[in-house]
């Protein structure tokens, strides 16, 4: 019922399924269905569509009563309606994934880079500003690291110089102490 351009008269099949045809026409539809597998499949497909339309409230109002009176006469048919209700509920649950193309679902990579996706979602000006800020931040960080390394090197050099001066001072003090001792010995000999 939904898609036109089928080789069968779908309206005739709908009328048959709703019990709207005269006996002679009913017999014609049945004979064709039991003699031609393709026609049989068409009748079954139309039947499914009719049930779906009923479940979704899409069946024309003037046909609802006929549908309920004739079509839902058997437990088998009522089971089909129950199934269609469940199918409609479950397909609605899958609304978003099912709306995506079947072929593309297979081709789409499982996860996209989150940062790139975020950038793509921004307006061009905002994206440019964000990129510029990120660039400045990167350069600033690099400069800070470089300066820190330079200061550390200077500090190490100063510490080495200080250690050298301290060593020289100790050597001078020792020399003074030795000279003083030598002086004391000479003074003692003179006396």
């Amino acid at each position: 019922m939904d898609i036109p351009a089928t080789p069968f008269n779908e309206e005739l099949i709908v009328r048959y399924l709703l019990g709207e045809l005269a006996e002679k026409e009913q017999v014609e539809v049945e004979d064709q269905a039991f003699g031609d597998e393709q026609y049989m499949q068409a009748v079954l497909a139309v039947e499914s569509d009719l049930i779906d339309e009923y479940v979704r409230g899409e069946i024309p109002r003037n046909r609802i009563k006929q549908f309920e009176k004739h079509f839902l006469g058997s437990a088998e048919r009522r089971d089909k309606v129950e199934f269609a209700r469940a199918l409609a509920t479950v397909t609605a649950e899958h609304e978003a994934p099912a709306a995506a193309p079947v072929a593309s679902i297979r081709l789409t990579p499982p996860r996209e880079n989150v940062f790139l996706a975020f950038l793509r979602s921004l307006q061009p000006a905002a994206a440019f500003s964000l990129a510029a800020a990120a660039l400045i931040l990167v350069f600033g960080m690099a400069w800070l690291v470089r300066d820190g390394l330079r200061l550390r090197a200077q500090l190490a050099q100063l510490q080495a110089e200080q250690r050298e001066r301290e060593a020289q001072q100790r050597a001078l003090e020792e020399q003074i102490a030795r000279e003083r001792k030598h002086n004391d010995e000479i003074t003692a000999q003179l006396q």
């Binding site: 049945e30 004979d31 079954l44 088998e76 297979r106």
Partner: protein, 222 residues
């Protein structure tokens, strides 16, 4: 869930079959209900199978096909108990064979007998509803929400399909009228298959799912 309580006298399932003792079923010769009931014997069933094919396996296959078609026929005609009516049709044909009837085109003959049975069913239904003063009335108890058990079963059955088939059936039945038509058109383009091929594929998957759900519900009730 819709619930219909349709009235039908059970006697209709045990109608006299003597009126069918002609080469082709004839509605003009419909009998009055008889108290004598005929039941299918092994011998009568064997004769019926032999009439369908001399090879036992081929005959069994043919029999199953005829029975499937009978079920569809009674469903399409809005009859309340397709299984029982199909059994009754088989019984009547088998009885005719034991009485020496020759059947040239079994499928046509079975359907002919089934059509006569439908007339009887309709007559009986009209008679009963007239007696009750409730012509054309059926009681309908409406509940549009499918039960959770049913939904769980269907979800489980969907998981049993291959990912491609699952996506196909969900996409095929998705959306309201206009949206659904558009979805289906896009599906045919995407899958590069004609409309009818897609429709038949969806129908087969739907039948498979319904069958699976029926089994799941049956096991849940146990």
């Amino acid at each position: 869930m819709s619930r219909y309580i349709l009235s039908l006298p059970l006697q209709v399932l045990y109608l006299d079959t003597t009126a069918l003792a002609t080469t082709e079923p004839n509605p003009e010769e419909l009998p009055a209900a008889s108290s004598r009931k005929w039941s299918l014997t092994q011998e009568a069933f064997d004769r019926l199978l032999h009439c369908l094919s001399e090879e036992r396996d081929a005959a069994a296959e043919k029999y199953l096909e005829i029975r499937r078609n009978l079920l569809k026929f009674f469903e399409w005609r809005g009859c309340p108990f397709p299984e029982d009516h199909a059994d009754e049709t088989v019984n009547r044909v088998a009885r005719r064979l034991t009485e020496g009837e020759e059947i040239r085109n079994p499928m046509a003959y079975f359907i002919g007998v089934a059509r006569l049975l439908v007339l009887e069913i309709v007559k009986a239904r009209v008679k009963e509803t007239q007696a009750l003063g409730e012509i054309g009335k059926s009681e309908v108890a409406e509940s549009d929400d499918p039960s959770e058990v049913r939904l769980d079963c269907l979800r489980e059955c969907l998981q049993g399909l291959s990912p491609e088939n699952r996506e196909l059936i969900l996409a095929y039945y998705q959306g309201d009228k206009g949206e659904k038509i558009e979805n289906r058109r896009k599906l045919t383009e995407r899958l590069r298959v004609p409309v009818n091929t897609l429709r038949m594929r969806a129908l087969r998957l739907r039948e498979k799912l319904q069958d699976c759900m029926g089994k799941c519900l049956a096991s849940a009730e146990m």
